[in-house]
Amino acid sequence: MTTDPQPASAYDLSHVDETENLATFALLVDNEAGVLHRVVGLFAARGYNIESLTVAETDRKAHTSRITIVTRGAPHVLDQIEAQLSKVISVRRVHDVTRDPRGIERELALVKVRGTGTDRVEALRVSDIFRAKVVDTTSESFVFEITGAPSKIDSFVDLMRPLGLVELSRTGVLSIERGAEGM
């Protein structure tokens, strides 16, 4: 990391283009009013991107929720995001899933495709290859449910586009670590 140029500031005139990486952070937060705002507000205030965000209560008894947030930035920006998130009082744990070789990332998408004839047959065939489920059908449409790594969903959507993609709904990334240990 020491080879990176200095980050920009009010005094830095050279806005060096740095390689940006995607990163997924899993947060365990206290499930209380406004906690999502604290996290999202931090991203907005400090100019970080949010590529996707999921949140739900995961432990009613411990009163905790899990937020999975996908962002983009140069390595030192990602370090800073992690440090800033760790500072939020309502955030109990921050885990950088992307930099953890044991991290698993999955996403679910609902994909509506409209078509008849060969397009319709092809859509069904592709969905089979991707192990998508048909959750609704009419004589001229399907709704597929597909889960997998975000890149798999991207490829599926790319294939569906010429076959009559009408609408797409994605959950955003969820993550967990391999192995027996909890976060």
Binding site: M1, S9, Y11, D30, R92
Partner: protein, 605 residues
């Protein structure tokens, strides 16, 4: 409830049942709070009633200071906190009460001041209905507090208050806000003491630095040929003991010491190792030493843009050690070689221990060369100024103020602008907690309410707000507070009839087009002081300056001192925007500062 049950901690649940408002008062007592600053209004009336009743029963154990504007309450709390190390406490009403307090809350966040703010809120069932004096206070303040709470159930109130004090005062200190709806203030709940509550958050700031990194840092400092300490407000926040440790460790290493605006006083200005403040208006020697050092030891400072100047030219050849209690401060603006997360005092003590344990010694020969180089920079006498018989130079006014107050028990606050920088340059602080100024946010209007807070905490001391004629008008109403509570604060206005720093920048960057920076229609400050019931003194003759300053000091009442100074003086030395530490403008270059900054620099702040 009788006085005796309030004093001796009641044990059975029945006697500990009280209203939310009474819980607030009891929790403040148990947190050791003796002074709070506030302003009443509809949504906090139950708490004001509980205060009134407590004062009736128990005298002034909890003293409420009525300010004239909620911004004043927050700055007064900051001054109180900064001069004592204790948290400042604020009580204001909903809606405009809360929004008026926000400037001071952001100020406390930027300067890491421990503060607990209580705001009233409309009753729970009216929240979200755009009720009278309703504002989404927790929503608005989420971004400008260390943490905040909306209390929906009185059962949570004792825990929340005690937790708020813990969060505000530990780790990197900051403001915590508690928004209490009026119905929660009325409802009855069972009070719990600080020992009885269990905190709901996983908040546990790290104070002890990593031993391995500390040993590595000690060895790096011992090997240094041109070391420098760059210290900040974190040393002050770590308590007076941290300042002693800094002095001890600096002496062991033989390294020079410079400090940010917020850190002034942690290292005595009288010490030969002191280089003066660094940064935009820092000294020539401090900035050059920072630029040329080979090992930089940053203690409790955060590489702020006013300090670093141009980042890609900032101390290019040094190894950097950064000690900070906030892990997110490390590697934020400047990449460092050793980052140590911990309390400044604790880490300094561990550095001293590691230095002794490993039998380290400084490289005296190299240090001698380094000091010779520094003496060369010092010889430029970058803070020198020329006086004359007709007008008072602003630097001269601060210089004389220092000379006439240095042997007294003095505290200095400031507003924001040229006068603030002159005060930082020319007033020589020897002890921590003696200097209260708005550094990060740069809030005009900070100084007088802060002085009120300081004077309340130190009744017998001399408290001076060094002000400008523009800044002072931003919270001038608090003069009335000083009168009401008999606080003999001294407001020393460097009156040059300009928003001096704005004018200086217009001169630097905007072709001397002085857009709205002249202080038109100034009040007569002497008459203004008298109208409030304070003493007014005016001085424009250099020959009378000392006598009038002494008259101010000797007055037992609040004084407004209208010190008419040279109007066109600029605050130098200065690192212009977009320049490096070794490209300062010195007073002798000052005649034509309009040509110093290039086009790119003009776009910066």
């Amino acid at each position: 409830m009788t006085a005796s049950t309030t004093r001796s901690a009641p044990t059975d649940a029945a006697s500990r049942e009280m209203t939310g408002a009474e819980i607030v008062v009891q929790a403040l007592i148990d947190q050791g709070v003796s002074t709070l600053f506030g302003y009443p209004g509809g949504a906090v009336l139950p708490i004001y009633d509980a205060l009134f009743q407590d004062n009736e029963r128990n005298g002034d154990r909890l003293r409420h200071i009525l300010v004239r504007h909620e911004q004043g309450a927050t700055h007064a709390a900051e001054g109180y906190a900064r001069s004592t190390g204790k948290p400042g406490v604020v009580l204001v009403t909903s809606g405009p009460g809360a929004t008026n307090a926000i400037t001071g809350i952001v100020d406390a966040l930027m300067d890491s001041i421990p503060m607990v703010v209580f705001t009233g809120q409309v009753p729970t069932h009216l929240i979200g209905t755009d009720a009278f004096q309703e504002a989404d206070t927790v929503g608005i303040t989420r971004a400008c507090t260390k943490h905040n709470y909306l209390v929906k159930d009185v059962a949570d109130l004792p825990r929340i208050i005690h937790e708020a004090f813990h969060i505000a005062t530990s780790g990197r200190p900051g403001p915590v806000l508690i928004d209490i709806p009026k119905d929660v203030q009325f409802s009855k709940g069972v009070y719990q003491t600080p020992d009885e509550v269990s905190f709901s958050h996983g908040y546990a700031p790290r104070t002890k630095g990593d031993a391995g990194k500390i040993a590595e840092a000690a060895r790096m400092i011992a090997k240094a040929r041109r070391p420098i300490f760059y210290t900040g407000g974190g040393v002050i926040n770590a308590g007076p003991k941290a300042s002693e440790s800094l002095r001890a460790f600096a002496a062991m290493t033989g390294a020079p010491v410079t400090s940010t605006l917020m850190g002034l006083g942690a290292f005595p200005a009288a010490d030969p190792a002191w280089l003066g403040m660094l940064g935009m208006h820092g000294t020539f020697e401090a900035n050059h030493a920072m630029h040329d050092c080979d090992v930089m030891i940053c203690v409790g400072a955060r590489f702020d843009d006013r300090v670093t100047g141009r980042l890609d030219a900032f101390s290019p050849n040094s190894k950097k050690i950064h000690i900070d209690i906030d892990a997110s401060s490390i590697n934020k603006n400047v990449r460092v070689d050793i980052g140590i997360v911990g309390d400044a005092g604790s880490v300094l003590d561990d550095l001293i221990a590691a230095w002794k344990a490993e039998g380290l010694t400084a490289n005296r020969n190299a240090l001698d060369d380094w000091w010779r180089q520094i003496d060369g920079w010092r010889a430029r006498q970058c803070l020198s100024f020329r006086t004359n018989d007709t007008t008072i130079k602003p630097q001269q006014a601060i210089d004389r103020l220092y000379a006439l107050t240095k042997d007294r028990d003095t505290y200095i606050t400031t507003e924001v602008g040229q006068h603030q920088m002159w005060a930082a340059q020319h007033y020589r602080f020897q002890e921590p907690n003696r200097w209260m100024t708005s550094g990060g946010l740069g809030t005009m209007g900070y100084g007088m309410p802060a002085a009120i807070g300081v004077q309340l905490a130190h009744p017998g001391s001399l408290v001076i707000d060094i002000a400008g004629e523009a800044s002072i008008q931003m919270c001038i109403q608090e003069l009335s507070t000083a009168i009401q509570y008999d606080l003999p604060i001294k407001i020393f206005i460097l009156n040059n009839e300009w928003m001096g720093m704005v004018r200086q920048w217009q001169e630097l960057l905007h072709g001397q087009r002085y857009s709205h920076s002249y202080s038109e229609s100034l009040p007569d400050f002497v008459k203004l002081a008298e109208a409030y019931g304070a003493v007014g003194i005016r001085c424009s003759d250099p020959a009378e300056l000392d006598a009038k300053i002494l008259e101010m000091i000797d007055s037992p009442r609040p004084v407004v001192f209208d010190c008419r100074v040279e109007k066109n003086e600029n605050c130098l030395p200065m690192i212009p925007s977009g320049k490096a530490h070794n490209e300062m403008i010195l007073p002798e270059d000052g005649a034509d500062i309009g040509s110093v900054i290039d086009d790119a620099g003009r776009r910066l702040v």
